[in-house]
């Protein structure tokens, strides 16, 4: 197992390398000239632009610029923001906690709702309860996350006044209050897939021989559902949850922007809106690396959850 994990970790290196090339290439394909952006977008004299190009090494051939950027990135230095003249790495570090809180809360909320609903739907397959739950999941899946956010803001912040609509608070409890609405919006969006996977897994498990045996033995329905069927239905759910991290990472971009939360997502959007290349490159590389690592972790956890799976 440890050897397998190390091998998988090494396999990430070429993917990460090619991703970084892709990110660099895509951002540099941009028709706008970084020197003009650095000069503040105003009409600048050719001398100023030349000085800026020399200072930021923008005249170097692109491969050399890439090597400089990637080399620094390996040492944890993602360059300096054009606009704010701050280190991109420290900007990411500063904004990471709130994004992590948001992702974690949405994940917990989504699973806390999706798993019980999936079990109820499967236990009542084809009956009104199942139909209602499936319809709800479809509606949640089809609503853009910013629409859910806006409606939630309208109802819970403005009409009912229960939760703050915008920004983030200080202190843990206060902060959680600010993050509750955004987390619900995000959770609703990922709910559908978890629910569907739980429901299908449960339906399959409920039809299997060992569950039929447990029912025939006269075990209480609840014990059969939770102890026998659910444990097996949870295995595919763990894979899907891992894959959904990617979905959450982009979901936070929209949710943070909608609710004015200063996390990684709004860092990226602000970077994009102001053509701040180092910020775009750095944040994207960070998110892609995180996404790859999480998926690897999920694959490895798989063996821990399901004793039938052994990696060698």
């Amino acid at each position: 197992m440890p050897r397998y994990a190390v091998r998988r970790l090494f396999q990430l290196i070429p993917v990460l390398f090619l991703s970084s090339v892709a990110i660099f290439a895509i951002v540099r394909l941009s028709p706008s000239d970084p020197a003009i952006l650095l000069a503040g977008g105003r009409q600048s004299s050719p001398e100023t632009l030349a000085a800026i190009r020399a200072k930021y090494r923008l005249n170097d051939p692109l491969p050399r610029q890439y090597i400089a950027w990637a080399g620094n990135a390996l040492r944890g230095d993602l360059g300096e923001s054009f606009r704010l003249k701050q280190s991109v790495s420290s900007m990411i570090a500063q904004r990471l906690p709130v994004t992590l809180q948001l992702i974690l809360m949405s994940m917990v909320l989504s699973l806390a709702v999706a798993v019980p609903l999936g079990v109820i739907a499967a236990a009542n397959k084809g009956r009104p309860a199942d139909r209602a739950i499936t319809a709800l999941a479809l509606a949640a899946l089809s609503s853009p996350v910013f629409l859910t956010g806006i409606v939630g803001m309208l109802v819970f912040s403005y009409y009912l006044g229960w939760l703050p609509a915008f920004g983030s608070g200080t202190g843990l409890v206060e902060n959680l209050r600010y993050l509750l609405l955004p987390s619900i919006a995000l959770a609703l969006n990922m709910l559908a897939l978890s629910l569907r996977v739980t429901r299908n897994g449960m339906i399959e498990a409920l039809g299997s021989n060992y569950v039929q045996t447990a029912i025939a033995k006269g075990l209480p329905r609840r014990t059969v559902l939770v102890k026998h069927a659910l444990r097996n239905a949870l295995i595919p759910l763990s894979t899907v949850t891992g894959l959904q991290v990617g979905f959450l990472l982009t979901g936070t971009v929209l949710v943070e922007y909608t609710f004015g939360i200063g996390g990684i997502g709004s860092l990226l959007v602000n970077g994009i809106q102001s053509s701040d290349y180092p910020v775009i490159q750095g944040t994207t590389l960070f998110v892609v690396a995180a996404f790859l690592l999480v998926n690897l972790a999920v694959d490895l956890l798989y063996a821990a959850i399901d004793p039938r799976i052994r990696y060698s």
Partner: protein, 272 residues
């Protein structure tokens, strides 16, 4: 019983899609107002006989804007799906049928693209290309291609071993002819399911790009941009957010229902 209820939902989805497509397509004839005509004296007017859904803060008729916005949204989504399906199908069939170096190179390249969360990749490409609906369409098409390619490649790998392909080869048909005239019609139902579902997703993704200001630029508008605009007046006129939001939801739900129904039919046919 189950079947009839399912087909009622699909029927409703079909009717809703037809109605929304018609309203959008006929916008120049059907819309009561010019969607960009400002009338500051009628700013934020409530729904009335003159303005069925009321007006926005610049006094523009919401119903007309919704119809014209739908044109942009639906047409853009159609373009994304058409472009990505055309390119993805050609690449996937070629990779699956020919195999070899082309296949392995393509698979490696797409592994990298699939390492990006989809909308993140679209965001970065859209940012590089610059704002504008054409660039949003282009960037989303790029993002959707690897998924279609994978689907078509794996379907083609199965078909390749079937007797009719062998027969085509024995008759000396060209690879292109076997791929597009023989294999493609056989995998088309699978593709159709994917197209229906992708259409819904591309509407959501386009709305997201427009919401972030990377999609359509004024004066042109789509449902995503209308949602973004509505945020300033959310408290006074929530209908400005709800109308385009519901429009997006209805279309996406309908396409998901259609995709699911198609898939179910496909699976029953396969089993039979």
């Amino acid at each position: 019983m189950k079947k009839s209820r399912g087909s009622v939902a699909v029927g409703a989805a079909g009717i809703l899609i037809t109605a929304i497509v018609l309203a959008s397509a006929l916008a120049p004839i059907a819309a009561p107002y010019d969607p960009d005509k400002q009338d500051l004296s009628a700013s934020l007017a409530r729904p009335s006989a003159a303005h069925v859904l009321g007006t926005d803060k610049l006094g523009r008729d919401l119903a007309s804007r919704l119809a014209y916005g739908g044109r942009t949204t639906l047409l853009s989504a159609l373009l994304v799906v058409a472009l990505s399906t055309a390119v993805g199908t050609a690449l996937g069939l070629a990779a699956g049928y020919k195999g070899g170096t082309f296949d392995s190179l393509l698979s490696r390249a797409f592994d990298v693209l699939l390492a990006f969360p989809a909308l993140l990749l679209a965001l970065v490409v859209a940012a590089a290309l610059g704002r504008g609906i054409e660039n949003a369409i282009a960037s989303l098409s790029v993002v959707y291609v690897p998924m279609i390619t994978r689907l078509m490649r794996s379907a083609c790998l199965v078909e390749r071993k079937l007797p009719y392909v062998e027969a085509g080869k024995a008759l000396g048909y060209s690879s292109a002819r076997i791929m597009f005239r023989h294999i493609l019609p056989n995998v088309a139902p699978l593709l159709l399911v994917q197209v229906a579902i992708d259409f819904g997703y591309s509407i959501l993704d386009l709305a997201a790009l427009s919401f972030l200001g990377l999609g359509v630029q004024p004066p042109v508008s789509d449902w995503g941009a209308m949602l973004a605009e509505s945020r300033d007046t959310l408290l006074i006129a929530p209908r400005l957010a709800l109308a385009p939001g519901l429009a997006i939801m209805i279309v996406v739900v309908s396409f998901n229902l259609l995709g699911d129904a198609l898939r179910e039919r496909l699976e029953t046919r396969k089993r039979a």
